[in-house]
């Protein structure tokens, strides 16, 4: 009996060893591997799943570069900073990818940035908008605008269009993005002549905001600015309606997910936010091709996070093509000299600082749909 077990165990080991020896090192020369790290599960899973759908659509539209087939390797970062760093190091050290796309949120992109920087592997983030993401980094790029621009546009909209003079803030203090963006809004709003009546905090994953909303309501603001992620946004709107707090609520690109409407329901009617992409505001040729391909596959409307995922892919492929090389430093230089690239979300240029210069759209929820209001150029 015992001898038989040992024999079985040995046989198992032999098979495993054979697999490792014969299957793993088989890396074909005519394949370009690009690592993708996105939040496929966890608090902001919608960003990751939309982004991944966008990247796959872009890959279908442009499947080759330098005559080689592009292969995407996806690792889930679980909406978690530590997992994001692990995903990056796994993609670089184990999968040996030539470049990375990821991730949706600023804090998690920063968590992976140091590893990629050290390994000289370029990273293109679709939607990390916090300015600190690319600061003092040579290999980190993004295809989205940055938060100071977003905060200024929101503050101007609140002050000029909504004639708001008193604003309250509610920010998710677990997210660098939310806190920094709220501060950019605050600076601009105050310099325009407005007052901030309340600054309140919540935490990713919170479900009850009644305490914060009650203290906000007590200060009688004209608007509420809460640049948080869609799950929190939807619940806050619902609870604000239940508490009878009837003031316009402004938010930012993090709100752009279908869950905002499916969970928020009637409570998010009139909810306005600054975003990356609106189907009705799309102008480029690539956008038309992309929207058609995306909607044919996924049967839903193309929106911000998938369009930006696609842009990250297109920009990276364009850079590899211009670099005529798969070496990190060369791709990096090509990325840093991206000029007037006609992407899905508009025409953009990327500079040595790693940031994209491009327009922004203003969106509003009307009749249970995201509606395009206007485009603002920097």
């Amino acid at each position: 009996m015992k001898a038989k077990n040992i024999f079985l165990a040995l046989a198992g080991l032999a098979v495993a060893a054979a697999l490792v020896v014969f299957i793993l090192p088989k890396k074909e020369a005519d394949i370009v591997e690009i690592g993708v790290f996105l939040p496929m599960t966890g608090g902001v899973a919608s960003y990751g799943q939309m982004g991944w759908a966008g990247i796959k659509t872009a890959n279908k539209l442009e499947p080759t570069v330098l005559g080689k087939k592009v292969e995407l390797i996806l690792v889930d970062e679980k909406s978690d900073k530590i997992e994001a760093a692990n995903a990056v190091s796994r993609l670089i050290k184990k999968e040996k990818v030539v470049a990375l796309i990821g991730t949706s949120t600023s804090g998690n992109t920063m968590a992976g940035a140091a590893i990629a920087e050290e390994a000289k592997v370029p990273v293109v983030s679709p939607t990390a908008t916090d300015p600190r993401v690319t600061q003092n980094r040579k290999y980190i790029f993004r295809v989205c605008f940055i938060d100071p621009f977003q905060g200024v546009v929101a503050a101007k909209y609140a002050y000029e269009n909504l004639k708001a003079r008193k604003a309250a803030l509610l920010m998710d203090q677990a997210q660098d993005y939310c806190v920094d963006l709220a501060n950019f809004f605050k600076q601009e709003f105050i310099s325009l002549g407005g007052v901030i009546t309340a600054s309140t905090f919540c935490q990713s994953g919170d479900q009850d905001f009644t305490a914060q909303l009650s203290s906000i309501a007590a200060t009688k603001p004209d608007i509420l600015y809460m640049p948080n992620y869609y799950t929190e946004d939807a619940l806050v709107c619902k609870q604000a309606a239940e508490l009878g707090l009837k003031i316009p609520i402004l938010s930012a690109d993090g709100a752009h997910a279908p869950e905002l409407i499916s969970i928020g329901g009637n409570a998010v009617e009139g909810f306005t936010f600054t975003g990356h992409f609106a189907k009705d505001g799309a102008t480029t040729e690539l956008a038309k091709k992309y929207i058609q391909a995306y909607e044919a596959t996924y049967k839903t409307e193309a929106s911000g996070f998938d369009a930006l995922g696609a842009d990250a892919y297109f920009v990276l492929i364009d850079a590899i093509r211009r670099a005529k090389s798969l070496e990190g430093p060369k791709i990096r230089d090509a990325l840093a000299s991206t000029k007037d690239f006609p992407g899905v979300s508009g025409v953009m240029s990327i500079g040595e600082d790693g940031n994209a210069r491009k327009g922004m759209v203003l969106l509003q929820v009307k009749n249970g749909k995201f509606t395009y209001l206007t485009t603002i150029n920097p």
Binding site: T41, S46, Q49, A174, S199, Q212, T231, L235, E259
Partner: protein, 211 residues
């Protein structure tokens, strides 16, 4: 699932429970994906009552009534029925209870059924209050429930309820009184857990040491 670890030390049973919960949560992630889904709240419960400055949802009133009802029936089951007496006996001394002719397997199965039913009721009420559901939504409430049970005294139904109320009030009052301290909310809850375990391991209302 628990049968093999029933006679093992308590810690093994606890670790098994945590393991199974991870398995179920991640199975949920695979089957339903991590994207939150909306949970429909019946129109019947969406009404709002205003008393001066205070706004109360129908849902809140019903949640309180239902909780009280569940609490009372749980109390009756545990302290006023034969099955309940057997449950308490097993918790005290499984070997002796077996000798008294009690069908231990059946009672344990019933205990699990009752526990799961109460947890399901709690989950549904939670989902109606915060109308979105995802496979990982139960982790933090589960941990908080554990803190509440320890605070009230493990093995004491009334204690768990008092502990839950106390914990909830403390958290919400902290956030309302000091909005800038809102981030310390969870820290306070788990701080209480440490404090109770250090200075009053039987909880506020517990009378015997849990082992």
């Amino acid at each position: 699932m628990y049968r093999p670890v029933r006679n093992a030390p308590r810690i093994s049973a606890l670790i098994t429970a945590i393991g199974v919960s991870f398995l179920l949560e991640n199975l949920g992630l695979v089957l339903f994906t991590g994207r939150p889904k909306a949970f429909i709240r019946p129109e019947l419960l969406s009404g709002v009552h205003t008393f001066g400055n205070v706004r109360v949802l129908d849902l809140h009133i019903w949640t309180a009534i239902l909780t009280l009802l569940i609490f009372l029936s749980l109390y009756v089951v545990i302290y006023r029925t034969n099955t309940g007496r057997s449950m308490r006996c097993i918790a005290y001394d499984m070997e002796t209870t077996k000798l008294m002719g009690v069908d231990v397997d059946r009672i344990i199965a019933v205990t699990f059924a009752v526990g799961s039913a109460v947890a399901a009721a709690g989950g549904i009420m939670w989902a109606m209050r915060y109308p979105q559901i995802n496979p990982l939504m139960g982790i933090l409430p589960g941990l908080k429930a554990f803190v509440a049970a320890v605070l009230g005294g493990i093995g004491n139904v009334g204690g768990a309820m008092v502990g839950g109320l106390l914990l909830g009030l403390l958290e919400i009052l902290l956030v309302a009184a000091r909005p800038d301290m809102a981030g310390y909310r969870d820290a306070i809850a788990f701080g209480i857990l440490i404090f109770i375990l250090l200075f009053r391991p039987t909880g506020l209302m517990g009378d015997r040491l849990p082992d």
